[in-house]
């Protein structure tokens, strides 16, 4: 299992942009018909990398998205985090059972803010062990609420625990600073997958995060960004 990484040069075409864009179906209070309608709209665009859905909707999402070549992901401990490691491990195992491609999962923010990086590493290690290479894990450190030192130590702990990729933010008001993306890429090199989420509202935003070092970008206004790309890119 890998993160379906693509070359990191700035996308010059709609297709290469789509290959590195992701989004989620939430609103969680949407009904099934709304979810189905949302997913079916992606047939009008080149395949994006992945879409995240509620666990009970994974079969529905696979039915619609797999023929389109779009990966299906789930989340856990999201967007608030601080779930027990046992609950996160259960979510990862459920993701494997469902055949989901990726799980984006919130970190142990209380441990980070308590500078208990041993706990951060142990939480990461148990999640990576639970995945057993059968589902791709992206851990969310929520970069915007961390000091630079907390961020670097957290990522060191994740990597020591076996994590190979991070998603910077859950969104929900905690936007990702471009400078943090540059810092992470500079400090941790190309070995770490960096997906950016939080604050990406336009094509210009997306391109600037790619320029800063992002592998993929999650954006809730996905259709307006793709429509803008259709006009401006080849």
């Amino acid at each position: 299992m890998n993160g379906n990484r693509k070359p990191r040069e700035n996308p010059a075409t709609l297709q290469t942009l789509c290959q590195r864009m992701m989004c989620a179906t939430f609103s969680p209070a949407a009904d099934e018909q709304e979810a189905r309608g949302f997913l079916q709209r992606f047939a009008n665009y080149p395949a994006i990398d992945g879409i995240f859905v509620d666990q009970p909707w994974v079969p529905l999402a696979q039915e619609i998205l797999t023929p389109l070549g779009i990966r299906v992901g789930i989340e856990a401990a999201y967007p608030v985090g601080n779930w027990s490691t046992e609950a996160k491990v259960a979510a990862i195992k459920q993701g494997v059972r469902l055949g989901a491609d990726e799980i984006d999962i919130g970190g142990d923010f209380s441990a980070i803010k308590s500078r208990d990086f041993e706990a951060v590493q142990e939480d990461a290690r148990r999640m990576v062990d639970a995945a057993d290479g059968k589902i791709w894990i992206m851990v969310i450190p929520e970069t915007a609420i961390l000091t630079r030192d907390e961020l670097l130590k957290t990522l060191e702990a994740y990597i020591a625990g076996g994590v190979q990729g991070i998603k910077t933010s859950s969104g929900y008001g905690w936007n990702t600073h471009e400078e943090d993306v540059r810092l992470i890429r500079r400090e941790f090199g190309e070995g770490l997958q960096i997906d950016v989420s939080g604050g990406v509202r336009t094509l210009a935003h997306a391109l600037s995060y790619f320029e800063a070092g992002a592998d993929n970008i999650h954006a809730s206004p996905i259709f307006s960004i793709l429509d803008e790309a259709r006009e401006r890119l080849t």
Binding site: A29, D31, D54, Q55, P56
Partner: protein, 236 residues
């Protein structure tokens, strides 16, 4: 002359679920939250599932009890995952579980799937008190009543009007509020479940108003730091 600390009236303190779910809460801040709840003799402290064991170490006796939230805030996990979170929390000392069901299942009126989810949770929860967390303003009266009726049959004790998170938008004003209208709507469909009010509860007068409507528990957000104000308001 010793200065006496103002207390929160027992009729109110015994109804407060003091809720500490802030994302960046450190262990030290959790300890302070627990100390506050002990000082004011509140009913329950609600913490994330990853902090139940630590919170239990900061309290003793039956009050405040420690509770947690299951699949907070979106309820998007599969029943089996929620069951693990519940059973682990109970084993760590949680006595109350505020459970977020899968709203999409409720809105689709897949009542067998919904009942399976609640039954699975009930089996995992042992003797813990179960509270069903809904978004009352998002559901029709019929769906609300049906969801509560099934939960009551399956051993749930309370229904809560809102998750208290920005459920459908990144706009903070989209958070659920404990308005009298919403609680009255919930009361009309509660089908025997006791009522817990959540969202924007910051004054003693507000809590008393909710209790007079038949509300049994109220969520007071620890992040708002209002306990001293509640006590001072009670001393007047």
């Amino acid at each position: 002359m010793s200065e006496r600390r103002a207390t929160i009236p027992e009729a109110v303190a015994s109804r407060i679920d003091y809720t500490a779910l802030r994302k960046d809460m450190s262990y030290r801040e959790l300890e302070m939250v627990c100390l506050e709840a002990v000082t004011y003799n509140l009913r329950t402290i609600i913490v994330p599932s990853g902090q139940v064991r630590r919170a239990c170490a900061f309290v003793s006796g039956s009050r405040p009890a420690i509770g947690t939230v299951i699949s907070h805030p979106f309820g998007t996990q599969a029943p089996a995952v929620k069951a693990v979170e519940a059973a682990t929390a109970v084993a760590a000392g949680a006595q109350e579980l505020d459970v977020i069901p899968h709203f999409g299942t409720i809105l689709a009126e897949r009542w067998e799937d919904y009942a399976f989810e609640l039954r699975t949770l009930g089996e995992a929860a042992g003797d813990a008190t179960l509270k069903l967390v809904l978004e009352a303003t998002r559901f029709s009266q019929d769906i609300l009543a049906k969801a509560c009726s099934i939960a009551a049959e399956l051993g749930f004790s309370y229904v809560v009007n809102t998750v208290g998170f920005r459920l459908v938008s990144t706009d903070p004003s989209a958070q659920g509020q404990a308005s009298p209208e919403t609680l009255s709507k919930l009361a009309a469909g509660s089908n025997g479940l006791k009522l817990k009010a959540a969202g924007g509860i910051i004054t003693l007068a507000g809590i008393r108003g909710l209790l007079s409507l038949g509300v049994n528990r109220v969520c007071v957000d620890a992040a708002l730091g209002v306990l001293r104000t509640l006590a001072e308001e009670g001393a007047k």
